[in-house]
Symmetry: C2
Subunit: 148 residues, 2 copies
């Protein structure tokens, strides 16, 4: 069961006002998380191009994008709220059915992104490479199971 | 003239490969910046509700959202690339015509968001209030002039 749903339920039961009760509309949650992933791709793409040698490696730009990614990686989870897996989304209902695995996957994405931002500080492609691959792996890990 | 455009031109003139040459397609730039602003709203909305007393003030949640906002505030500028002001966007061509003012406005948004994240650390609504209003002012500052 989702953390937000639990929070909402707890708050409702307690009859108190809380931010969790000001629930976003389903389309807002979908647009929010899709927006975050577009920003993830916007940063991850050029980093990938640099790693593959398709574009020149620019340590400063790479570091800035890795910082962005580390910040963004913390954001999408709260957009996966109940009742937002039926239309205009590639997110599968499996997310609701196996929330624990999904949330763990998102945590791996956060951890790997934070590690990449750390590695990027060195400006050393040799150090960055494995950290970058680790992030890519966490993307694929969730997409295989939870994305249409 | 835009920084990215200048970078792209410089790179092209020098005949070198650079990340700036792997230019995004216009729709990608539009979707990227719109995605960021959706995430800004997603975080700013609940913060506003707390400040207005519509929802209970939760210092920890407020701080987390202020941190998100500070990170997000650094991101949209690079999505405002040349040739992306004609369709599927509320961004006005005035951005291209008066890039300097627009970029300064974005800088004010970043500075105010960073200050809000600092104020949020205190957990004191009295300290947070003015910092929050300052961010809201920077939003309005750009929207009035550069958003349809």
């Amino acid at each position: 069961m989702k953390k937000l749903a639990v929070l909402g339920l707890t708050a409702a039961l307690a009859g108190i006002s809380s931010a969790a009760l000001a629930a976003p509309k389903p389309f807002e949650a979908i647009e929010y998380r899709q927006g975050i992933f577009k920003a993830v791709k916007w940063n991850f793409g050029p980093m990938g191009d640099m790693m593959k040698g398709k574009t020149e490696f620019n340590a400063e730009e790479f570091k800035s994008r890795a910082d962005n990614l580390a910040a963004l990686s913390k954001m999408p989870l709260e957009g996966f709220v109940a009742g937002t897996y039926s239309s205009k989304t590639a997110a599968l209902p499996a997310i609701e059915d196996d929330w624990e695995t999904f949330a763990k996957g998102m945590e791996s994405f956060q951890t790997a992104s934070a590690a990449l931002a750390e590695a990027a500080k060195t400006g050393d492609k040799g150090e960055i490479g494995p950290a970058f691959m680790q992030v890519a792996k966490t993307c694929k890990g969730c997409h295989d199971q939870f994305k249409d």
